[in-house]
Structure formats: structure tokens, C-alpha cells
Symmetry: C2
Subunit: 359 residues, 2 copies
């Protein structure tokens, strides 16, 4: 397992070590964050990304935020000074990625820590981290159950000599969480327990999270992974190489419509066309039950340069128009099941979402 978010040292003198994801897959470089500013920069620059991972990093950032005050006033444990320093750090860190829901949630949890000492704050940050890891494993257990079922029940599952063929898009992996990822959780557990597995990773244009991150982290774990361009996924399915698709989600509506990285919707259509089950893996915190359907999820449009200059080299004419939606919404009707940390939602409809996630 990749340890990409690590606290080094004791609560009062230690610091946060992050794997710098902007350098992957070329270099494995650690980033030692000794100030709140360092943590803020790391989140802003996407050195750490993925909603759960950002929340965890920010929680550790709060510990760093109170260290200076402690140094100055060794006997002021729990004093107003420390609480003030925490508030300053949390307010500042909240501005690093203003749309990241997990970030606010983690910072609020840190603000509620009593007594407000470096020791207690580090304990809480570690708890947030461990809870996330545990949640990933729960998702993984449910996903593994499905994989095992497919292995027995599905004729495609054995077609690859290397075991169950699983296709994924983008990175909802260990690098995005404090554990073994969401979409990847079942893959890690399958590998751990010797279930033969063959993963196909879409490169995921424009930002290539599949090529840069998913292919890298699965390769590090020794999982059999094959990289394909997004345009090749349909052909891979047609050739019978894939028994299931499993992806993550950024936000899921009350009816099960799921927003995820652009291209996910297209993969879901391909899966349906080939009769291949399509799974979304996400913790219950991803659901936004205030949204009745996915049509209410706003879709951010991204800069042209990610398409035209995405590889450090111009690959399109200077003044060309582009259209670059960051996400798409896969309707519940194309999703076989949603695998959460509290159980599997299948079939995907409002009642089943409410049963597993609500209340």
C-alpha cells in the first residue's frame, strides 16, 4: 500500500509528509510540509488531490498551525492563543480548494476538538485518516464480493488469461484517499487474497489521471494493469476482455445519478451496449440527497489549454475553440449498482439510495 500522507514525528515538533502527485509517474518525490502555507500550497497545486485525501492533509495542516504558538507559550496548552491559531489555520486552509466538500468537513471536525492541544489535534487528524482507510476497506469488501460472483457467473470473467477483467476510468484510487481508494478498493483486496485480476485503466483525457496515477499506483502494488486510451475502451469490451467496469464518483443525487470525471458517462453507455455490468464505488458522504436528480449537479467547464497544451506541447491550432466539461453525469439507469461503505445499492433508485444512505 502506498503511504502518501504521513505524519512524521511528535505532535509538537513533527510535520506532514506528502507524496507530490504532480511529479508522478516520472518521479517519486516527497514534499515535507512544515508550515500551514506548505500544506495550502500542496493542496492548491494538486500535489495532494482527491476529496478524502485533501480533507486528511488539511486536518494534519491544523496540527502544524498550532505548533508555533505552543513553542512560544509552553504552558498555554488549550489556551485561547492555541484556539485562535487553529482558527487562523483552518480558515486559511479552507480557501485552498473552495469547492472541496470533504475539506470543510475535516476542518470543522478539527475545530471541535477539546481540549485544543497539539496532541488531541493530531489524534483527531489520525482518526479522520484511519476512518477513511476503514471506509475504503468496507467498499472493497463489497466490491470483492461482486468480483467473486462475476468470476463464477460471468463467461467474460475468465476470458482474459490473467483473471477477471476490470475497466476503470480516472483515479478513484489510493492516491485520492487515506486508504485503498474507492473504485480501486476491490482490486487491492482481490490482489491481497489471490483472486486473479486484470485491470484496464483509461488514460482519462484531458488531465491523464488514469495514465499518471491509476496505472502507477496499481503497478506499484503489483496488480496487473494495462493502460488504454479512452477511445479504446469500447474495443476492449468488444473483445471480451472486461467482465465489469468500476469507477468512482464526485457527487451522487438522491435518485442515484452519479457525477464523475468526464468520459465516465460514455464508458457506461459502452458497458450497457456490451452487456457488461457498470459499478460506481463511493462512500455515503458522496451522496447529496438534497439533489433529486443528476440534472441539478452543476458541470464546471475547464480551460482550453488542458486540451490544446495538455502535454507541455501544443497539439492543436492556436485559436481553436474547445469545449471541455470537467464532469458528466451517468444516469442511474446505466448503473448496475452503487457500492458504498454501508452496503450495495441495487437496483439503483431513490428508494434503495434512501434505504442504504438516508437516515
Amino acid at each position: 500500500m502506498i503511504e502518501h500522507i504521513t505524519w512524521i514525528g511528535d505532535p509538537r515538533k513533527g510535520h506532514l509528509r506528502l507524496l507530490d502527485q504532480t511529479k508522478l509517474p516520472g518521479e517519486t518525490v516527497n514534499l515535507d510540509c512544515t508550515t500551514v502555507q506548505d500544506v495550502w500550497d500542496a493542496i492548491k497545486r494538486l500535489s495532494v488531490r482527491g476529496a478524502p485525501a485533501i480533507g486528511i492533509a488539511a486536518a494534519y495542516g491544523c496540527v502544524i498551525g498550532v505548533q508555533k504558538v505552543q513553542e512560544m507559550d509552553a504552558h498555554a496548552t488549550g489556551s485561547e492563543g492555541v484556539r485562535h491559531a487553529l482558527e487562523v489555520a483552518a480558515t486559511y486552509l479552507a480557501k485552498s480548494r473552495p469547492t472541496a466538500v470533504n475539506l470543510f468537513w475535516a476542518l470543522d471536525r478539527m475545530r471541535r476538538v477539546e481540549p485544543c492541544t497539539p496532541e488531541r489535534l493530531l489524534e483527531e487528524a489520525r482518526r479522520i485518516h484511519e476512518e477513511d482507510a476503514a471506509m475504503c476497506r468496507k467498499i472493497g469488501e463489497y466490491a470483492l464480493g461482486i468480483m467473486e460472483g462475476l468470476r463464477v457467473g460471468h463467461p467474460r470473467a475468465e476470458s482474459g488469461a490473467n483473471g477477471v477483467g476490470v475497466l476503470t476510468h480516472c483515479n478513484a484510487g489510493a492516491l485520492a484517499t487515506g486508504g485503498i481508494g474507492t473504485a480501486t478498493a476491490g482490486m487491492y483486496l482481490a490482489h491481497e487474497r489471490g483472486l486473479p485480476l486484470r485491470v484496464f485503466a483509461d488514460e482519462t483525457r484531458p488531465l491523464l489521471q488514469g495514465a499518471r496515477l491509476t496505472a502507477w499506483e496499481l503497478g506499484q502494488a503489483g496488480i496487473d494493469v494495462t493502460l488504454v486510451c479512452d477511445s479504446m475502451a469500447a474495443q476492449v469490451m468488444r473483445e471480451g476482455k472486461v467482465a465489469m467496469v468500476i469507477v468512482g464518483a464526485d457527487r451522487i443525487a438522491a435518485n442515484g445519478d452519479a457525477a464523475n470525471k468526464i468520459g465516465t458517462y460514455g464508458v457506461a453507455i459502452h458497458a450497457k451496449h456490451h452487456g457488461i455490468p457498470f459499478y460506481v464505488a463511493a462512500p455515503c458522504s458522496t451522496f447529496d440527497l438534497s439533489l433529486k436528480t443528476g440534472g441539478l449537479i452543476p458541470i464546471e467547464e475547464r480551460a482550453a489549454e488542458e486540451i490544446t497544451l495538455g502535454f507541455g506541447k501544443r497539439t492543436a491550432p492556436e485559436a481553436v475553440k474547445t469545449y471541455s466539461p470537467a464532469f458528466d453525469v451517468t444516469p442511474a439507469s446505466l448503473i448496475t449498482a452503487i457500492i458504498t461503505d454501508k452496503g450495495v445499492i441495487e437496483p439503483v433508485d431513490e428508494a434503495n439510495v434512501q434505504r442504504v444512505v438516508g437516515g
Copy 2:
């Protein structure tokens, strides 16, 4: 219209000017070919690409091949020496792209020229070029008829403020032919005649022919073109921006199954899912009636580097496995019609293919 293959000067002293497509879209650089070796290099290096364009360039290359002999023996018009020089040039040029069917066809036509003089050879090369241009226009007329019908009949057609939305994949454009392309032919004619049009060009990983070539040539012509990543096409369709898809083909079987650049099959599935008509535009010479179905078309697998190092920069882990089929086959059942220079095949089945293409 882009003149990317041009003969400069008279038959005995002239030379071939090619637009160097490897430099697009960054630079518009001409390549002056004064020797057969120059033409061979241009084809080999993909400075000129697309089956019809390669055939035309090679035909002009044959003219260059006999110039030297003529210079040495000014009175030997049609002599054995000239015929020998032609044979040497043609045999050599045939090895530049050994799988290009149009190349062999064009060289054979040049070999049959009588009397074998530079003047007659240049005339024949020009004829091959003009016939190709005429064929493109014929395809364009049929395609335009379909576009006009969609404009009236299809609710999606008017949804884009800029006119009929057309999505294409890869480059079956002017740059691949001696005229206005195949998939693009209807677009050029629509633009010529004032039919409002909005083209979406898939960037077409791994080699980005859509971003580098299609977006460039349509932009040069003043056609409204928007570049998207391959993974965005389904979302563009879902938003109602596209009234039709039109692509080229590398080889079409007797039943209408069509091989084309990887990703085409996936686009066809997306079109079907959204109820958007999917057209293939190709000259009759693209049909291989000896193949009963598309399952018999061999699919070449390409090098990993095109995925992992496609932009001069490593975008995937060093040792990662890849799978990179160069083409896919779209089954006839997903093709609304095939637009040829001899008419429109619709519905696409063996009898209709035979009626339009056979005999």
C-alpha cells in the same frame, strides 16, 4: 481550399511541393521534393498521409523519377531508358508505405502510360489528382443532401445557435485526399453554400489527427469547429449539440462493416444511444468485397510509446503495459448509411452494398 499537393513548373524541370503535415498545426511548412528519394521520405515520415493523398504524391514522384534520364538523353523521349527509370522509381516508391492500397494502384496506373514521356506522365498524375478531387465533391454532394434534410427534419439540428451540429473523428479531410476530403466533403460544401454548420472534432488519441489536422484544416477554411477530447463526445451528444456523426473509413467489408481509426466504434455506440444518425463517407475504392464481414479485417496493434510518450513527454509509468489497437470495426448495424461517390447505401446491408459498389 488547402492546396497541399502541388506540381511546380514544367514536366521536365518541375518538382513536387507538399505541405509538411508533421509540422501541423504549429507551422505551415512546404516541402519541395526534387528527387524520388525526397518523395519517398515524405511518404515514409507521414509528411503526406491519407490513402488517396499518398497515391497522388507517388504519381507525381514518378514524373520526377524520369527527369534525370531525360536531361541526360534529350532525344530519348519514350526510350527504354525512360521506361526503366519509371520502373525503378515506381518500385522504390511502392516500398514507402507497404500497406497503402492506393499507392500501388496509382503506381500501376503510371506504369501503363503510353508514350512514356514526362509530359504524359505528369498529365496522368494530374488526372489521378483531379479524379480524386471530383470523387470527394461527389461524396460531398450526397452528404450535403443528408445535412439539408437533417436541418429541416431533425429537432437537434437547430439546437446549436451556429447551425447543424456535426461530429467527426480522426481526419478523413482535405489533408488526406486530393480534394475536400471524404468525411469533411459535405462540411466544405455546406460552408461554400451558406448552410450554417457547427463541427465538433474529436482529438483522436493516440496520434491526435483530429486536433492536429481536422481542427486545423476546417479552421483554415473558416468553418466553425470545436475541438473536444474523445471522452467528451458522449456528453456533447447528450447536450443535443450534434445532429449527425460523419466519419471516414479505411476498409469496408461486403456487408458494410467499416474499419476506421480506433474510437470510431465507440462513437457509433454513443450515436445509437442518443438516436443520432451515424454516417460513413468513403469512395467505392474503400470497399473490399472479398471480405464477407468486418471480422475478417485484420487490426494492427501499435507501439506503447504512442500512448505513453505521445506528446514528447512521458505521461505514464515507465514499464506500464499498454494495449493499442490502431483501428476498430463498426458493424453495419450501427451505421445509418454509407455515403460513396456512386450514391448512398441505406440501409447498410450486403444487397445495398452490392447494388451501389458492385459490378
